[in-house]
Symmetry: C2
Subunit: 298 residues, 2 copies
Amino acid sequence: MTDGKIHRVSMKDVVFKADKNNKPVLTIDSSDTVVFECRDAFNQVIKKPEDLPINFDMEKINPATGPVYIRGAEPGDTLEIHILKIDLAEQGSCCIIPNFGFLASEYPEPWTRIIPIKDGFAEFSDKIRIPIDPFPGTIIVAPPEGSHGTLIPKEYGGNMDSKACRAGTTVYLPVFVEGALFGVGDVHAVQGDGEVCGTAVEIDAEVTIKLVVNKKKKIKRPQYENEEYFMTTAWAETTDEAAKIALRDMIHWLVEEKDLTREEAYALCSCTVDIRVSQFVDVTPGVRAVLPKKIFIK
Amino acid sequence: MTDGKIHRVSMKDVVFKADKNNKPVLTIDSSDTVVFECRDAFNQVIKKPEDLPINFDMEKINPATGPVYIRGAEPGDTLEIHILKIDLAEQGSCCIIPNFGFLASEYPEPWTRIIPIKDGFAEFSDKIRIPIDPFPGTIIVAPPEGSHGTLIPKEYGGNMDSKACRAGTTVYLPVFVEGALFGVGDVHAVQGDGEVCGTAVEIDAEVTIKLVVNKKKKIKRPQYENEEYFMTTAWAETTDEAAKIALRDMIHWLVEEKDLTREEAYALCSCTVDIRVSQFVDVTPGVRAVLPKKIFIK
């Protein structure tokens, strides 16, 4: 899995905004692997049940560990982010944050639940334990211009909160600046599609990632792929609009890569592509279109 | 699986509208099983590649086989629809219908693909074969008033187009009229979540269903359940609004059935409930919220 060098970035080295002027904390070659120590999305201020999600310093939430400069990455390239391994801390937390979440107006009060991780389960209560399925919610490169918070997902990635990004998945991000300036954070021990209350099991973690510069693949926005599925993803004002963008990207990929007509691609999506919601809560809802690769006869 | 009598309803006996005045074609006892012979959603007018989806008689699409009168079913009861078995015909079809589908404005021309079913696969082309995962798209009881086409899903069921309704699933529908007047049809050999082009692999089929009157369970709109998952479902003008309704139903169920606080239920949904799109195309988009039952410690 790792043919380059192995590096480590400390959780002291985080950014709260993606910016081409951020100074890299590490410079690596393409195909090197990095162990990223990631702080939870609350920047480690929720430790016990009494820690309520109020009075956050909004400039200091959703930290991304990095940025890492990848030699040879240039605007127009695609960065392959191979998620190899995710090691979780011993406890996470789930919070209801006032004025945030899919049913925000119905849940005005702050609420915190500390959730221990034991034997592969997130222990939600003494009667409920959820098998963990961890992934980093925020996966990001520097945008071409400006300084952007990591919270709202965009074409350069960010707070995608897609559980498809578990270990075994490769995330493709378009490169906008030299070196890409990659960062990662906001690990969830487990999350439902939708992330309806606005937080999942938020947790510190180490994420091991191999970073590869791909000079051939050209993409406008993130894609995901693993052994079983190829996925497009998009965000928009509404879930319906986001779904249309992800669907058009999938049709485009089927026409370009699998030599289908536009009609065949559309009909095939109707018969076999799952349009899944990743999250409803990060200002712009996010959707992924999921194509099973096994349908193609070798 | 079957402790009552076994009946059969011919595909000659269909309705195109749900209506309490429809005459039952069969009367059964609760816990009886019925084999429903179902016509495809095109009412069997698409047989070969040259049959384009134009000039449909809109009064004669999406037939539901039935209705069946279940003795003892009364308004306020819940009808348990245990989907036991689905046997497909030898070929189905997928069509792009002008002015219909999620990307209707981008696909103005009619298009038909005949899709043979062989050895458990839907043969989309010589390079693509999709494992079948069949379910009836339309599952319906009579509404309290009026005569309603089967196409738009409502609280009395209808064209839900949810692949969760595969064999092994129990669909719960509220009963609005004496006898319930149950019908089923619109089988899909396989469909992606979203059913984006507006049709899936539409096919004739036999669907074996056990019907049970439940006097205790009270529901406002359909729910689904199988060995692994409990699911709520809803429809609205937008996917986001539909998702909120399905989510509120799930929170309600968790509070009532699992004794959680409203905050715990909301947070638990965020951590483990998948909000999935069933379809984007049946006038009102449909969503289901999917809760894994294994999280509850026995």
